[in-house]
């Protein structure tokens, strides 16, 4: 296909990718699961960016969310429960040329993988991180997750979960060197697409918490939000998301928030009564560990050999 370059000259690309080029196996998520919409958004963002499928890697842990790589037609790594981030960071560290996506969930990221979550935010490697947060363990069949709302009955807490849910936004925003924090709901296509696209374009780790419906185990959580739009607040800003009026009509509670204002973002995140949507924080200038860790990758074999001999010299007698 072709397009116009910045200098108005015609750019002829030998490859043009359609949505189909990013589609892998037929998704096996339940009917009505919010994951379908997220996958569609990912395919679209890949298409928009014309990512080369062979240069794209989707990394996941274990859980419903973590099936995502199988539904991509790119490279993928479906690893261990909670451990998507270290693997993704290792890939990016050696191969900065690859476009890395991480699909994880509330159990995978906020519970068993919590240590990696904290540190991956600090590393701030250039990747897109989508947390599919449905507030329940789905794949293992309805156990309490760190974000299960209070009093929701589960198979591990039949009389209702005991503890108030973890607030992933305040935690993430509190981590030094965090550079992009956003939140969306799975059921608004425009917001979903725009925020995931911005997370992808962001230089650093684009963290998106996606409130995602699980109609099989905790239908009420999603329903309650859908029925009460006032419980959500859409954050708009010229440096954040800009949505058209159709979206604003769906979220009557909306207002401006400057995503460069970290204290304001923390305040918004800490307010449990309203669920903020949009970009809470964005700092394109935060240092990225992939740039620090990949220095030296271009060294030739001859240079390495010379370096090795220098190292031997340090011990020579």
């Amino acid at each position: 296909m072709f397009g116009l370059k910045g200098d108005w000259s015609l750019e002829v690309k030998d490859r043009y990718f359609t949505l189909e080029d990013y589609s892998g196996a037929e998704p096996r998520w339940c009917t009505g699961c919010g994951d379908h919409g997220i996958l569609a958004a990912v395919h679209r963002v890949c298409r928009d960016a014309q990512l080369e499928p062979e240069k794209t890697v989707a990394v996941s842990g274990i859980g419903c969310s973590s099936r995502l790589p199988h539904y991509m037609n790119t490279y993928g790594f479906h690893g261990l429960h909670g451990r998507a981030l270290p693997v993704a960071c290792g890939i990016k560290s050696r191969r900065p040329d690859l476009d890395v996506w991480v699909a994880t969930g509330d159990g995978d990221c906020f519970s068993i993988g919590a240590a990696h979550w904290v540190h991956a935010m600090r590393y701030n490697m250039d990747m897109t991180m989508l947390v599919f947060d449905n507030g329940i363990y789905g794949l293992t069949k309805k156990q309490t997750s760190p974000t299960t709302p209070l009093d929701v009955p589960t198979n591990t807490h039949p009389s209702g979960s005991l503890l108030p849910p973890l607030n992933p936004l305040t935690v993430t925003l509190g981590i030094t060197n965090v550079s992009f924090v956003a939140q969306i709901v799975d059921w608004n296509a425009q917001l979903r697409h725009q925020v995931i696209k911005m997370a992808h374009e962001h230089k650093g780790t684009g963290f998106v918490r996606i409130i995602q419906r699980c109609p099989v185990y905790v239908e009420a959580i999603g329903k309650a939000l859908q029925n009460e739009p006032a419980r959500m607040r859409l954050l708009t800003h010229e440096f954040g998301v800009e949505v058209d009026d159709s979206v604003k009509r769906l979220f009557p509670n909306h207002g401006e928030h400057d995503p460069t204002d970290l204290p304001a973002a923390l305040k918004i995140a800490a307010d449990d009564s309203v669920l903020p949507l949009g970009i809470l924080y964005r700092n394109p200038d935060a240092p990225c560990y992939d740039q620090m860790s990949s220095e030296g990758l271009e060294m030739s074999a001859q240079e390495k050999l010379a370096g090795l001999n220098q190292a031997f010299d340090h011990f020579a007698i």
Binding site: G24, A25, E52, P53, E54, K55, V57, A58, V59, P69, H70, M72, N73, T74, Y75, G76, F77, H78, G79, L80, R83, L85, P86, V87, A88, C89, G90, I91, K92, S93, R94, R95, D97, L98, A115, H116, V118, H119, S293, S294, E295, G296, L297, E298, M299, A301, Q302, E303, K304, L305, G307, L308, N309, Q310, A311, F312, H314, F315, A316, I317
Partner: protein, 708 residues
């Protein structure tokens, strides 16, 4: 004594920090009883006064000698406390010597020994140096358990282990000697050069401790020479706590006739980051120590150079530095680690030099993340390495299983320490063999190799990387705290570009070839690397088919398991049987693995020199095992392993055929060969000495007698 003071009459006199002392040599036959000489202070700085005062003392000394002679003639035995070992004076040529320098921590004993070891290496001796490390970072001073120091074994042959009891010890205080004595580090006749400042310490308790310790040491047969090291150093520096070590280095360099210029060159190198003034004062301290030993000690040793090609062009490294160099030589450019003793110093070294070969040390948030990061790198086409120790291995278990299941190349270095749990962080044990072989749930075939020497700590990383890539598997390299802290000159490896992996392949993948295109015969397959067009696949830790699609069906699961296991058989087919050290038939065969190699071969050599029918065989590959073991074992009446891990004592009343738990390699070999392989193993936290192994050999050969 040399004749330094002969210009004037200083007969029987010597000066210690400006004060005159009197000294009378004890006749050789009485030195067991009275020590090398009798001496005492004359409490004067005036030479004339000393000259006249000496005669009373000399008379008193002569009386002592006469009565001791009389006692000896009458055949009475001196009391144990008074019995002193005999020590030869003069210039002696010896084949090897083992020296220890022990002090409170922070007094620089280790630096002193390191430089001494380097100088010995430069002079062509075989050398093994090992640090004596207290458990705490800053233990209190003069604490029996707080010994910090170093052992240097040097010889006219290539030295492969830390040896038996020390021949000579320099001790900065008397208390630190106790933990070494408890470890069996000394023998009757070991010469102790002891700092004597404590004899005049203002604290009465310390003076008393010192006096009591001296009696203890004599009773144990140590030859103690009390030396005024502190006082001599005070002539040059205000605080000899820093600097005393260089004085001691000077003493040792005289005692062992080391090259002064080489030693000074090493001192300058050691302090190269400090000012010229620092180098100068350390040189002065060195000279003072050298002169002091020359003027005050009447013995010196010569250890002729070893004629060994490994020493011709050598690098002097410990096993962890060797592993770090091995990573670079293997062309690996990522080590992901989490701090853990005793593995971390490998990463410390790499953090210094890794940039020379374009590498990076990633300090991860935990052990799991460390191996996860390495696995990510390997998946992306750059085989990476993670370095850890036992507890870290336990945490990495699930990730190792993933690498096995997904057939990812990966190099895992396990620097073993004492276990289980936190165990003995700084000390050696060969306790991780079974857990590395079998510690992953499900069937988890992987390659496990064990370095026997410091040189192999370097080479085996390269071997591991190549096997990992060719066989698409994680490879575990076992080393241990003995190798990690032992320092030895090893032959400088001749690394060429073909040690490095080929450049990252980003050519198009044949879309008709699935990501697990298993060869039925060998189990081997090629893998697509991200970036390769048409190679896109989703790696999964779930059971999968050739297409890497999740496959829970019986046939796919069985096929995957077969293919992963088949690779080990394929690798085994490329291995050669291990070589027997000694005759290929005989009474007793010792089987060993890992860092006990040097001590065991040395013990076997000694036993064979004494006419005993014993041989040894050392295994480097533990999974798969090297071929031909059963045939080798059949050449001997008895086969046993000697290991540094736990096994039950077969003599205990509760231990019988059914209850006995064998040492780890013995367990493996018993199931592998169905032969009745015995074992002897202990968990002392320190390496085995050749002497101890000789005793084990004698005991087991003894049991064989009469069983003809």
């Amino acid at each position: 004594m040399s004749g330094k003071h002969t210009q004037e009459d200083t007969r029987y006199l010597f000066k210690r920090d400006k004060t005159w002392w009197v000294k009378l040599a004890v006749p050789r036959e009485l030195r067991d009883v009275l020590g090398y000489d009798l001496r005492r202070s004359l409490h004067t700085r005036d030479l004339e006064e000393a000259r006249s005062a000496r005669w009373d003392a000399i008379a008193e000394f002569r009386e002592k000698i006469e009565s001791a002679t009389a006692e000896q003639i009458m055949g009475s035995t001196p009391s144990a406390a008074a019995k002193r070992e005999h020590h030869e004076a003069g210039h002696q040529i010896v084949k090897e010597h083992t020296v220890e320098i022990v002090s409170d921590s922070g007094e620089g004993a280790q630096k002193c020994g390191q430089i001494f070891g380097l100088v010995c290496g430069k002079m062509g001796n075989g050398v093994w140096t090992v640090e004596i490390i207290p458990a705490e970072i800053q233990p209190p001073a003069r604490e029996r358990q707080g010994a910090s120091g170093i052992r240097v074994r040097m010889g006219s042959h290539y030295v492969t282990n830390m040896g038996d009891q020390a021949d000579l010890v320099v001790a900065f205080n008397e208390q630190v000697l106790y933990s070494r004595i408890a470890n069996g580090a000394y023998r009757k006749g070991t010469v102790v050069l002891l700092e004597n400042m404590w004899a005049e310490d203002p604290d009465e308790k310390i003076r008393q401790q010192y006096a009591e310790a001296l009696q203890d040491f004599y009773a144990q047969g140590l030859i103690v020479h009390e030396l005024p090291i502190q006082k001599e150093c005070l002539k040059l520096v205000e605080n000899p706590r820093r600097g005393k070590n260089m004085f001691v280095l000077g003493m040792l360099c005289h005692i062992y006739q080391r090259d002064v210029d080489k030693a000074k060159e090493e001192i300058a190198k050691t302090f190269r980051k400090k000012s010229a003034k620092v180098v100068e004062i350390n040189h002065k301290l060195f000279d003072a120590g050298y002169a002091f030993a020359r003027d005050n000690l009447d013995y010196e040793y010569e250890i002729p150079s070893a004629d060994d090609e490994r020493l011709a062009s050598a690098i002097v490294v410990n096993g962890n530095q060797a592993a770090g160099l091995g990573v670079m030589a293997a062309g690996i450019d990522l080590v992901a680690m989490y701090p853990i003793t005793p593995a971390t110093s490998a990463s410390h070294y790499l953090a210094d030099d890794f940039n020379l070969t374009g590498g990076f040390v990633h300090q991860a948030e935990d052990e799991i993340a460390a191996i996860g990061f390495a696995i990510g790198a390997s998946y992306a086409g750059k085989t990476a390495c993670t370095i850890t120790s036992g507890p870290g291995m336990a945490l990495k278990t699930e990730m190792i299983g993933l690498a096995v299941m997904a057939e990812l190349p990966l190099v895992i270095i396990d620097v073993q320490r004492g276990g289980p749990s936190t165990g003995l962080p700084t000390k050696i044990e060969q306790g991780d063999l079974l857990s590395t072989l079998f510690g992953v749930p499900g069937d988890s075939p992987k390659v496990v190799i064990a370095a026997a020497t410091i040189a192999e700590c370097l080479e085996f990383v390269s071997v591991a990387r190549r096997i990992a890539e060719s066989f698409r598997t994680p490879v575990i390299v076992l080393t241990d705290a003995n190798l990690a802290t032992g320092v030895q000159p090893i032959a400088r490896p001749d690394v060429t570009e073909d040690w490095f992996p080929p450049p990252l392949d980003q050519s198009d993948w044949d879309e008709d070839v699935p990501p697990y295109d298993w060869d039925e015969e060998t189990g081997l397959s090629e893998r697509p690397i991200p970036g390769m067009r048409n190679g896109e696949y989703i790696l999964t830790g779930l059971a999968h088919n050739r297409q890497s699609k999740i496959a829970y069906d019986s046939a796919s699961n069985q096929e995957g398991a077969i293919m992963r296991s088949r690779k080990l058989a394929t690798l085994a087919a490329t291995l050669k049987p291990p070589e027997v050290h000694g005759d290929e038939t005989g009474d007793l065969l010792i089987v060993s693995w890992g860092s006990t190699h040097g001590a065991i071969e040395e013990a076997v050599d000694r036993a064979r020199d004494a006419g005993k029918s014993v041989a040894s065989v050392h295994l480097r590959f533990l999974s798969p095992l090297e071929p031909g073991l059963e045939e080798i074992f059949r050449g001997f009446r008895k086969v046993m392993t000697i290991e540094l891990n736990y096994s039950d004592d077969p003599e205990h009343p509760l231990i019988n055929k059914e209850t006995r738990r064998y040492a780890q390699l013995a367990q493996v070999l018993r199931s592998h060969t169905l032969m009745d392989i015995d074992c002897w193993s202990v968990v002392p936290g320190h390496p085995l000495s050749p002497g101890r192994i000789c005793q084990v050999i004698d005991t087991h050969l003894g049991k064989l007698e009469g069983v003809h």
